[in-house]
């Protein structure tokens, strides 16, 4: 893989509805403007023309399983013909259980998608309702089974803990059911009450109560315990995989490798600059229609900032940790102090979060930030 090669990310900004906890850039039109969106995306691809072949392709959202297959095909073909997609590249598509039927599975397989990330989120109907998801637990389980038998190289199931009304006992039951489903990869996120969301408003009004920080810690530890004893490796703060199934694309974020984000609100990093696209679909489209880069932010972090970002993202990797070199002079004193507190292991210039440090990662980072 040459240094300039970038993983490709596409943000599909449409959903059937907005979940109350979501603060992602997206729209919920009655009818998705499939063609117009794909056209704009192709324009952005042509404009950015990243160096290929792309080692990974990841379509996230939003709800990419709402992308009409012929339009998705148009994009995938354009990427292959334009910059190229490397042989054996991981090609991931996010999907909601409601859309995963046999036709969809066959269609995406035919396009070369070899990994699906399924937004299951919860395995109980009351929790799904609390999250304002529109599928049922049975829908989710059926979708997982369909993916398991379809012949993808890998697939992943997303779960959320810290759901309003969740208890430690109910979460343990969900984890047992998730393990039984046998997904080779699990992303386990803590529900975050983001400012400006409907959830934040409901919490502020007292209409909804979310688990407190201590219960969140218990839930996090319960997941780690249940999944690791079932053979999963906890290889990143929020991700678990059976051997050989760690996500390739997401590693680019943690390892500081270049990626090009396409679509509204997508982010990119070319090794020198970070940028962010207009989060609003309309503004993103308008910029592209004028042949301009649809960006709202672009900055080249200075050396010190870049060094901290590298450590910040690298520390998320629980398998390898991150090497402080070549910036060890700056970070080692704080790292030694954190190691003395038992939060990280320090081997030479390499640091890695310990079990005790895992839940206090932000404190470790604040200490390293100095």
């Amino acid at each position: 893989m040459s240094a300039g090669v970038a993983g490709l990310y596409v943000h599909f900004p449409y959903c059937t509805h907005r979940c109350t906890y979501c603060d992602f850039p997206l729209q919920t039109p009655r009818r998705v403007p499939q063609r117009a969106f794909t056209d704009a995306l192709l324009a952005e691809l042509a404009l950015r023309a990243p160096a290929g072949p792309a080692p990974t392709l990841y379509v996230g959202g939003g709800t990419p399983s709402l992308w009409a297959l012929p339009e998705l095909a148009r994009f995938v073909c354009a990427a292959r013909d334009g910059i190229g997609v490397a042989d054996g590249a991981e090609v991931t598509l996010e999907a909601n259980p409601g859309q995963v039927d046999d036709a969809w599975v066959a269609g995406v397989l035919a396009l070369g998608v070899n990994r699906v990330s399924l937004g299951v989120q919860a395995l109980r109907d009351d929790h799904l309702a609390a999250l304002t998801r529109r599928h049922s637990a049975d829908d989710a389980i059926a979708a997982v089974r369909r993916l398991a038998g379809a012949g993808f190289r890998s697939y992943s199931v997303d779960l959320i803990f810290g759901v309003p009304g969740q208890t430690l006992a109910s979460w343990r039951e969900d984890l047992a059911r998730a393990v039984a489903l046998g997904a080779p990869h699990l992303s386990v996120y803590g529900l975050t009450v983001e400012p400006g969301t409907l959830l934040a408003r409901d919490v502020a009004r007292g209409a909804v109560t979310v688990p407190d920080s201590d219960l969140q810690a218990d839930l996090f530890e319960a997941a780690r315990e249940a999944l690791c004893s079932a053979g999963y490796e906890h290889y990143e703060v929020s991700n678990y995989a059976l051997p050989g199934h760690a996500a390739v694309h997401n590693h680019r974020y943690w390892d500081g490798l270049p990626y090009v984000g396409l679509g509204p609100g997508a982010h990119g990093w070319d090794g020198r600059a970070r940028w962010k696209n207009h989060p609003r679909v309309k503004r993103w489209q308008e910029a592209l229609a004028q042949g301009a880069l649809p960006e709202v932010e672009r900055a080249e972090p200075d050396a010190a900032t870049a060094a901290f970002e590298r450590v910040m993202t690298g520390l998320r990797r629980l398998d390898t940790g991150v090497d402080l070199a070549p910036d060890e002079a700056r970070f080692l004193p704080a790292a030694r102090a954190q190691a003395a507190l038992g939060r990280i292991e320090l081997a030479g210039t390499r640091i890695r979060l310990t079990d005790a440090g895992l839940l206090l990662m932000d404190d470790v980072l604040l200490a390293l930030l100095g």
């Binding site: 703060v237 910040m312 839940l359 932000d362």
Partner: protein, 608 residues
């Protein structure tokens, strides 16, 4: 006649009227003053910002007057002659009683402005008594007469029974609408006496206000009682014991307008190139340096700070900036005092003395706003007089400096005479509150068919301690409060220390009555538990008297501080969140390894 020629006209003493406006805080004093200026064409209506006389932004925002401002209005009376009406504005808050009394001393009369829908309040009454002490002629003005809720007859009856003033010649006004203002101006001319004085005697002028102007030095507002003052004259400040030359003398119209001389009864300003406001204090007498008056005008009294608080920069290296800021503020505020203080918990800062709580808030706000400082202010405490076993008497301005119990013979604290005006249905609640706060009842009197005036002697420390909040709650906001320090009284007082993880935090120490110490200690620990953010380790909060622990609370360590979410490649956002967290920590004071937010220092003042 244009404004310019008016100011040039010398109006004889018989046609001068000097007056103040006495009113409760929101009864419309400033609006009425604006209207007087407008009707006499002292300011152009278009040029007029609302409430012209309140110059400082802070005052305008809070709707109160801190520094008094003055204006000379020229009014043509029904006799066809021009009269000079000197409006002497008075500060409207309890902390500034002395300044009010000086302003009133400069007058022959006052307008008593009462809101026709609300009636007499404690503060109005306090100032009316000051005015009556000075033998001022009072004109009763019922304001806000345009409001549907106005009840002029009820309010008049209240004024008669509460103050004993005749109200048959009261003037109905709507300052907002301008109704009744010309009639009021005529009444000022007709009913207030002209000033008296000896034009041939050595000059004596009373300073009733002064402020610092960065370009011209101290500007003095004064009223000439005897003789006259001129430009170029050598003058002496009798209490300040310093001589200066008059660089400029003039009148406020309301902008500063120079004149050559001010004689008996006239009111105006002096510029003498004075660098520090301490050299031209309110209440001092200005006389001629070569031919001085034998005796100053009566009543000079230097401001006595009664309330003290520690002010510390959040960032230690800002200490010098804080010193500079205080030096600059003191140029314009003779009432504050400050000296450097070192706190084990808060580092280097200042112990600052104030006239009262409002004064403290104003200073704190000005420091933060005008000098852009991030400050931690400790809870205010009063000054204590301690007689030690060795017979030595000391003043303790900071609870942490209280000598050990075995060295204390007696401790005394400032006592105020507090007057509460309340609707009668809340009298029970007011008495209960005053009794809880160690009050000694002095008087209960009806001031109207349904309003009661309750007078208590109370420790000032109890007033500082959320008394006003509790009073407002107990009376649904209907009561008003005024108080005045009358002396010191000894009591059984003890120091309560707050320990965080075993270490006493000096800035959290309080002095309280022994009988209340247990419950105060408990409340204090509970408050700290609510306010201190959870940290990475357990925090023990204890209250102690001497070495004895009287209350304890624990804050368990937090277990989780991690974002279990990746933001899809949005690395910048995550980094910025961390940087923000870091900046937030910096704004808190670190005591040992515990971060203490500003709110914790003020929590000492909450009793429940």
């Amino acid at each position: 006649m244009t404004r310019k020629s008016r100011s040039q006209t010398r109006i004889p003493r018989e046609r001068i009227r000097n007056f103040s406006i006495i009113a409760h805080i929101d009864h419309g004093k400033s609006t009425l003053a604006d209207r007087l200026l407008e009707v006499t064409e002292t300011v152009d209506k278009r040029a007029q910002k609302d409430q012209f006389l309140d110059k400082m932004d802070l005052e305008r925002e809070r709707g109160i007057t801190i520094k008094s401002q003055t204006a000379r209005l020229v009014h043509t009376a029904p006799d066809g002659l021009d009269y000079a009406l000197n409006l002497i504005d008075t500060p409207g808050h309890v902390d500034f009683t002395y300044e009010v009394s000086r302003s009133l001393k400069a007058c022959e009369g006052a307008l008593l402005v009462v809101d026709a829908s609300q009636g007499v309040e404690a503060q109005t009454l306090a100032n009316v008594y000051l005015a009556l002490e000075e033998n001022l002629e009072l004109i009763t003005v019922l304001n806000k007469i345009d409001l549907p809720a106005a009840e002029p007859d009820r309010v008049k009856a209240e004024i008669e029974s509460a103050i004993g003033l005749e109200t048959h010649d009261a003037i109905n006004v709507s300052a907002k609408e301008g109704h009744g203002v010309p009639e009021l101006l005529d009444a000022i001319v007709a009913r207030l006496p002209a000033p008296k004085g000896d034009a041939e005697a050595p000059p004596r002028a009373l300073i009733f206000d002064s402020w610092y102007d960065p370009y011209r030095g101290v500007i003095i507002m004064m009223r000439v009682f005897d003789g006259s003052l001129k430009k170029g004259q050598k003058v002496r400040f009798m209490a300040g014991k310093a001589d200066y030359e008059v660089l400029e003398i003039g009148v406020m119209e309301p902008d500063m307008t120079p004149v050559s001389e001010l004689g008996v009864g006239e009111v105006g300003y002096l510029v003498c190139g004075i660098k520090e406001i301490r050299d031209a204090r309110v209440g001092d007498t200005v006389t001629d340096a070569r031919k001085p008056a034998e005796k100053p005008l009566a009543g000079f009294k230097p401001a006595q700070p009664m309330v003290f608080a520690g002010i510390f920069p959040v960032e230690g290296h800002e200490f010098e900036n804080l010193r500079e800021a205080l030096d600059k503020l003191a140029l314009n505020d003779a009432a504050i005092s400050y000296e450097a203080e070192t706190s084990g918990a808060l580092g280097f800062g200042f112990r600052v003395g104030f006239l009262g709580l409002l004064h403290m808030e104003i200073v704190q706000e000005r420091l933060e706003r005008e000098f852009d400082l991030d400050l931690v202010t400790t809870a205010p405490s009063v000054v204590y007089k301690v007689v030690q076993t060795n017979g030595e008497e000391i003043l303790v301005e900071n609870p942490k400096l209280l000598p050990p119990t075995q060295n204390i013979e007696t401790i005394s604290e400032p006592i105020v005479r507090a007057t509460v005006h309340t609707p009668q249905e809340y009298v029970g609640a007011v008495l209960k509150l005053c009794e809880e706060r160690r009050g000694v009842q002095k008087e209960i009197a009806y001031v109207g068919p349904s309003r009661v005036m309750v007078t208590y002697e109370l420790p000032l420390s109890e007033i500082i301690l959320d008394f006003f909040d509790r009073l407002k709650t107990a009376t649904r906001g209907y009561a008003s409060l005024d108080y005045e320090v009358i002396g010191f009284r000894s009591d059984d007082l003890v120091k309560v220390d707050v320990l965080i993880n075993g270490d006493p935090v000096d800035a959290l120490a309080i002095i309280v009555h022994r009988a209340a110490s247990q419950s105060r200690g408990r409340v204090l620990c509970k408050k700290m538990r609510e306010i201190l953010p959870r940290q990475q380790f357990e925090i023990a909060i204890q209250a102690a008297i001497g070495g004895k622990i009287i209350a304890r609370e624990t804050i368990s360590a937090y277990r989780k501080n991690v974002t279990a979410k990746c933001y899809g490649g949005d690395i910048t956002r995550k980094r910025k969140l961390l940087e923000k967290q870091k900046a937030g920590k910096k704004r808190m004071k670190q005591v040992g390894n515990v971060e203490i937010p500003q709110a914790a220092f003020m929590a000492i003042l909450k009793t429940e």
